[in-house]
């Protein structure tokens, strides 16, 4: 390919190399103009929602709970929000946890059902939520799980009151 040929042939060879390079450069420049490409650790609410749905697909909510239709708001008080990568995933885990926390303290649920809910809660440390939870905050959550395992649901009730959404 690099043998010197006639002018016409050389031009053709050069074009064969240059055109793909120009096309690639064009793609790169276009991508750099997009917020996600420029700030790859942040994404739109739509992308975070895809994360949320993917994580939710592998989780089972407590009975009588359904996944929210619009779990990730695109704006806050009229201003756009960009979400750090993983936000949607941990938000799905958090919603899942709340569903079982409520189940664990529901008086209308039977003893067996509440015990099953407490067992579900014990799997939180294996979820992505716990992975991204600030390390300084993990002991508090582990204590909540431990006391629940021992039959004391006070911290679970407090968690629901302070942090959980209404049942969907």
């Amino acid at each position: 390919m690099f043998v010197n040929r006639s002018g016409a042939s050389t031009s053709a060879v050069n074009l064969a190399w240059v055109l793909p390079l120009l096309a690639a450069a064009s793609v790169l420049l276009t991508a750099c103009g997009q917020p996600e490409a420029k700030h790859p650790t942040y994404s739109s609410a739509d992308v975070a929602t895809v994360e949320y749905r993917a994580e939710a697909a592998g989780l089972t909510l407590a009975p009588d709970w359904t996944w929210p239709q619009e779990p990730i708001p695109p704006t806050y008080q009229g201003s756009e929000i960009r979400y750090e990568k993983g936000y949607g995933k941990q938000a799905a885990d958090q919603y899942w946890f709340c569903s079982w926390a409520v189940r664990a303290v529901e008086t209308r649920a039977g003893t067996k059902e509440r015990a099953e809910a407490v067992q579900q809660l014990q799997t939180l440390p294996s979820k992505y939520y716990f992975e991204v939870l600030n390390p300084h905050s993990r002991p508090y959550v582990l204590k909540e799980l431990q006391t629940a395992r021992e039959g004391n649901l006070d911290l679970v009730r407090k968690d629901i009151e302070l942090n959980c959404p209404e049942r969907k």
């Binding site: 201003s79 929000i81 939870l133 600030n134 300084h136 905050s137 508090y140 302070l162 959404p165």
Partner: protein
């Protein structure tokens, strides 16, 4: 990345051990860092992935050891999506100034950091900040 922990694993484990030993889960300062995206991003909020749980009852405060000319505006968002406390801003020259983001917060409240460029000018490049958050 938004809020990247700067503490090493050893320190984190030591801190966790201290918290386990202390039933009160007393509040303390925690290192934070991140990137403010610019230029012209002053109207876009960036929300961290990392949930944080308030230790003990009381205030949540913030200060920066390194800022850039664009400054930063900060707010806390509860897990239920509502703002916790008030929005605070730091100009680029206000390193070392502590501001209170929320008072009277119950221990156990989980929140997320959300921030944006303060001045909204278009001549800045992406810039990093470092600081400490008390919770």
């Amino acid at each position: 990345m938004a809020i990247v922990r700067r503490l090493g694993l050893t320190l984190a484990i030591a801190a966790a051990g201290a918290l386990i030993a202390s039933p009160a889960y007393a509040a303390s300062w925690h290192a934070i860092s991140g990137t403010v995206y610019s230029p012209c991003s002053g109207h876009i909020w960036y929300k961290s992935t990392n949930p944080r749980t308030k230790s003990g009852d009381g205030a949540i405060k913030l200060q920066f050891s390194q800022l850039n000319p664009g400054g930063v505006t900060w707010k806390l968002i509860r897990q239920n999506g509502l703002q916790l406390g008030v929005t605070q801003s730091w100009a680029g020259t206000e390193e070392g100034i502590t501001r209170t983001l929320a008072t009277g917060v119950n221990g156990g409240v989980t929140f997320y950091n959300m921030f944006k460029e303060y001045d909204g000018q278009c001549w800045h490049h992406d810039y990093s900040f470092n600081g400490s958050e008390y919770y």
